[in-house]
């Protein structure tokens, strides 16, 4: 398979020059396929990627992220920093300056009041805002003049680029959404389907879960863009059909998230009508080890709680041996192909936050066996399963229902059988596994198993909240209705102290250093989290579509204004 990401990037750069002279709408129509169809275009009412990304064609934040995760200005002149005085020294205030003369697609001017309204909209207690986390810690949004937005935080905010930044928290037009505050938010269909925005396109027609017809925004700030006069974002079908529509039949120009098996990737790319683009973000498929005892014999309310440490997995050598026995490259080849790569890190990106650790990539079965022997786990009764002090080395391994995960389970089970570990597999429907229902025994938070596998990532480029999930006080248990992200029940005072330090540090280099350290404490020091595969995005673009740059830090359609037709 030929992955021409770099090449295409070069084409994009070369292509930018002619595109800059082009006229708005000169390149006609472009077809985009989102096989999970957009259901709403207001990202504040839906957290689905499909909705956020389609919405980003219309709605924009003050700033965004580029493909390297760097903050770039959109509606503002420059990115405020401590150096340029945009952020106060104590990190409790950030001041954004809008570009003068910006217009909404209906021709009215964009003002700081719109930003203030957006904050009020999302933080309204009855609105059920899906992006409320991005506005956390904001005490006030002030508008000293029409172009200045001052955001005040309750405490130091080392990463203030959350509110109003990126496709997930764009600016809404106050005039349009004025009657949609709070409980009324979900009744404003017209507004939610046809928001007025500042982005390169405006919605012409919206059919729920089916198709969005867009046309170039007549008031877009760059008079030469977008190159396409109209755009269709079509939904429906599955990843395979989407990949085929771009790569084999050429019916579409761009298809989002064409996650297909490696063989099919090769076969379809060979048809030569388009290329698969891949980009890696922060999504990591991992195995989480349960540090507490999930034994069903324990009374309800004490299972998988800190009262009872795990009889087997409390032993570091066992955890390490389990990690060493896995050949991660095999997993990548079976499940993801070009859309995955073996990793040892919980935080695989952005580059500055990623640990250089690659110890786990090479499978070491003999080393794993030796470690187990060393810890006293030997096969004393000759049944092929190791034991120690009468405890058999037997693990219950759960995950959600998903074809790739079931393949992974089967393969990892065979790896672990190799080193004398007996494994029982369990699959739970995703709706239950990720459902968070405190009454169900099968949620990933409750973790009534020894090890479990799923994927998780973090929003944006800053891993602090993500790493803070492993604090001692975030352990789920009966006292907090099993809510809490620290599913491993990992607890290390040194780790907590370091997270505390991270929250007070604003120097980027130092933040990166701490984040790398925290990541290693969870992975190569303790093997509490065993990362397997860094899962990338895989999208397909037609050979005739220029300017596409896959971005995993913001929405994939982040630079749709720069797309053009290669003739």
């Amino acid at each position: 398979m030929k992955l021409r990401t770099a090449l295409l990037g070069a084409v994009a750069v070369a292509g930018l020059a002619p595109a800059a002279f082009a006229e708005r709408g000169a390149d006609g129509h472009v077809n985009v396929l989102y096989w999970q169809a957009p259901s709403i275009l207001n990202p504040y009412l839906s957290s689905g990627t499909k909705d956020v990304e389609t919405g980003s064609l219309v709605l924009e934040g003050l700033a965004g992220f580029d493909e390297k995760g760097v903050v770039i200005p959109r509606l503002v002149e420059t990115i405020p920093t401590v150096e340029n005085g945009g952020i106060t020294e104590d990190l409790t205030q950030i001041t954004w300056k809008l570009k003068p003369g910006l217009l909404w697609s209906d021709g009215t001017p964009v003002t700081s009041a719109d930003a203030k309204f957006t904050w009020e909209y999302c933080t309204h207690p009855e609105g059920g805002c899906a992006q409320a986390a991005r506005y956390e810690g904001i005490t006030a949004v002030e508008t000293p003049d029409e172009l200045t937005i001052v955001v005040k935080f309750s405490g130091p905010k080392p990463n203030p680029y959350q509110a109003f930044v990126g496709g997930t928290s764009p600016i809404l037009q106050a005039a349009q959404f004025a009657n949609c505050l709070g409980a009324a938010a979900s009744t404003c269909s017209e507004q939610n389907f046809k928001p007025i925005g500042t982005g390169p396109f405006v919605v012409k027609d919206f059919k729920v879960n089916d198709v969005v017809e867009l046309e170039a925004n007549p008031n877009y700030r760059d008079p030469a863009k977008p190159a396409f006069a109209t755009m269709t974002v079509k939904g429906g079908g599955d990843a395979q059909a989407a990949a085929r529509a771009v790569l084999e039949t050429g019916e579409f120009d761009y298809a989002w998230n064409t996650q297909i098996n490696p063989e099919m990737q090769a076969q379809m790319a060979a048809a030569g009508k388009g290329v698969l683009l891949n980009g890696f973000g922060t999504l990591v498929e991992r195995i989480e080890m349960n540090m507490t005892n999930p034994d069903p014999a324990l009374p309800e309310g004490e299972r998988s709680t800190t009262k009872h440490p795990h009889p087997i997995l409390s032993d570091l050598n066992v955890r390490k041996a389990l990690s060493m026995a896995i050949d991660r490259q095999v997993l990548v080849d079976v499940g993801y192909g070009a859309a995955g790569r073996a990793t040892c890190n919980l935080v695989p990106a952005p580059e500055m936050f990623a640990s250089p650790n690659t110890d786990c990539i090479k499978q070491d079965v003999e080393g794993a066996k030796a470690l187990l022997e060393q810890s006293g786990w030997v096969d004393s009764d000759g049944d092929g399963v190791r034991d120690k002090d009468g405890v058999k080395l037997k693990l219950l391994y759960q995950t959600s229902v998903n074809p790739v995960r079931q393949d992974f389970q089967a393969i990892i089970k065979s790896f672990w059988n190799e080193i004398g570990v007996e494994v029982e597999l369990k699959q739970v429907d995703s709706s239950v596994f990720f459902g968070g229902d405190a009454g169900s025994p099968d949620t990933f938070q409750k973790f009534y198993a020894d090890v479990e596998m799923y994927a998780n990532n973090f929003d944006g480029t800053d891993p602090e909240p993500y790493l803070a999930q492993y604090l001692c006080d975030k352990i789920p248990g009966p006292e907090n209705q099993w809510q809490g992200e620290n599913v491993n029940r990992f607890c290390d005072p040194a780790y907590d102290a370091l997270v505390e330090e991270l929250s007070k540090t604003s120097d980027m280099a130092r933040r990166a250093e701490i984040a790398i350290r925290l990541n290693e404490m969870l992975t190569k020091d303790s093997y509490v989290v065993v990362p397997l595969v860094d899962r990338g995005r895989l999208s397909a673009a037609s050979n005739t579509l220029g300017g596409v740059v896959l971005n995993t830090w913001d929405t994939e359609l982040w630079n749709a204004q720069d797309w053009f037709r290669i003739k």
């Binding site: 009855e126 609105g127 899906a130 986390a133 429906g236 079908g237 599955d238 990720f434």
Partner: protein, 335 residues
């Protein structure tokens, strides 16, 4: 006849109410939760707020009564408003989808054309194919035409549409590239080119479904014809020296079609059921696809409303079939 119809209509009301209760509870009491669709990156508190905003935390009976009121009172008002530009509804809350915040009825109205065009035309074509085949096979019972026709219809009736559909897609779309692989719902037929486009994208699903329905209908037609061909009146007609054509096409056919028409009427609501699988296979964004999608994301209002509308159609068409039968067959008198 009129009193009979009215009586049946009155009986249908409690039936429908009961059905609505069954459907509502069945869907509502299911253990899944729309929360599982929200990504892990969204914190738990935000998730709880989002769920609360959907109105899920109200007790079941309140939500049922609200839904009933919205379905039978508010939504018709909105329909009247939309048709005549009045303002009876006065912004009363409507049935809103959890996931897309769209009024469910609008959503269904948006999806209906695709389903009706594809599945409806498949049904019409099926009838057009099935009747002549059924009639001729019965008339020439045990001839080679009958043998082949019966076998083909048996096969067509037994092979599930999702299998034939998938095979057709692989052969005609993937290998031969004759048909588009994505159904374009925003295509407007304005000229010859767009008409051709519409026909090409409809061809496979219509062909597969029509084959299946035709198989079933031709079996009915054949057996109904066979029954009537051996009746005394057919013999009498022949004995009177009528031409074979008149006997078969005028006397026998008319009587044979009575049960067939009932079967056709009863099969109409099945259009929606059939749509589920066909739309899934051919990626047509119609009612069936909407239902499956809604079930997947636990969008309960959409599931409840689509299921209930289908139930209304079934009750309605049962009634129509009964009345039609009474009109067509004077021997049947209801009052």
């Amino acid at each position: 006849m009129l009193t009979y119809t009215l009586r049946r209509l009155l009986v249908a009301i409690p039936t429908l109410l009961l059905i609505s209760l069954v459907i509502f509870l069945l869907v509502d009491l299911a253990p899944g939760s729309p929360a599982s669709e929200i990504p892990l990156t969204v914190p738990a508190e935000v998730k709880a707020k989002m769920i609360e905003a959907m109105g899920i935390n109200e007790p079941v009976h309140i939500r049922y009564l609200l839904w009933l009121k919205q379905f039978f009172w508010t939504e018709p008002l909105y329909a009247i408003d939309a048709a005549f530009g009045t303002d009876f509804a006065d912004n009363a809350p409507r049935i809103i989808s959890y996931s897309s915040k769209v009024p469910v009825i609008d959503y269904i109205a948006e999806r209906l054309p695709q389903t009706l065009i594809v599945i409806g035309s498949a049904y019409v074509i099926a009838i057009l194919i099935a009747l002549p085949i059924g009639i001729y096979s019965a008339y020439r019972q045990y001839s080679w035409f009958d043998q082949i026709g019966t076998f083909v219809s048996m096969v067509g009736y037994s092979v599930p549409t999702f299998f034939t559909g998938l095979l057709a897609i692989i052969v005609f779309t993937s290998w031969l590239g004759w048909f588009p692989s994505i159904y374009n719902t925003s295509l407007r037929v304005v000229d010859w080119a767009s008409f051709k486009q519409q026909v090409t994208q409809m061809f496979l699903p219509v062909a597969v479904l029509a084959l299946f329905n035709a198989a079933e209908l031709s079996r009915y037609t054949r057996s109904s014809m066979l029954e009537n061909l051996s009746q005394d009146y057919a013999r009498t007609a022949r004995a009177k020296g009528m031409s074979e054509r008149t006997v078969v096409l005028k006397h026998v056919l008319r009587n044979s079609l009575i049960p067939v028409i009932t079967v056709i009427t009863l099969g109409m609501p099945a259009i929606f059921a059939g749509a589920i699988v066909t739309e899934q296979v051919f990626k047509i964004n119609g009612i069936g696809a909407a239902l499956i999608g809604a079930i997947h994301v636990n969008d309960l209002p959409v599931v409840q409303t689509i299921a209930f509308i289908t139930a209304i159609l079934i009750v309605l068409f049962n009634l129509v079939a009964d009345i039609l039968y009474g009109i067509l067959d004077p021997r049947i008198r209801y009052d």
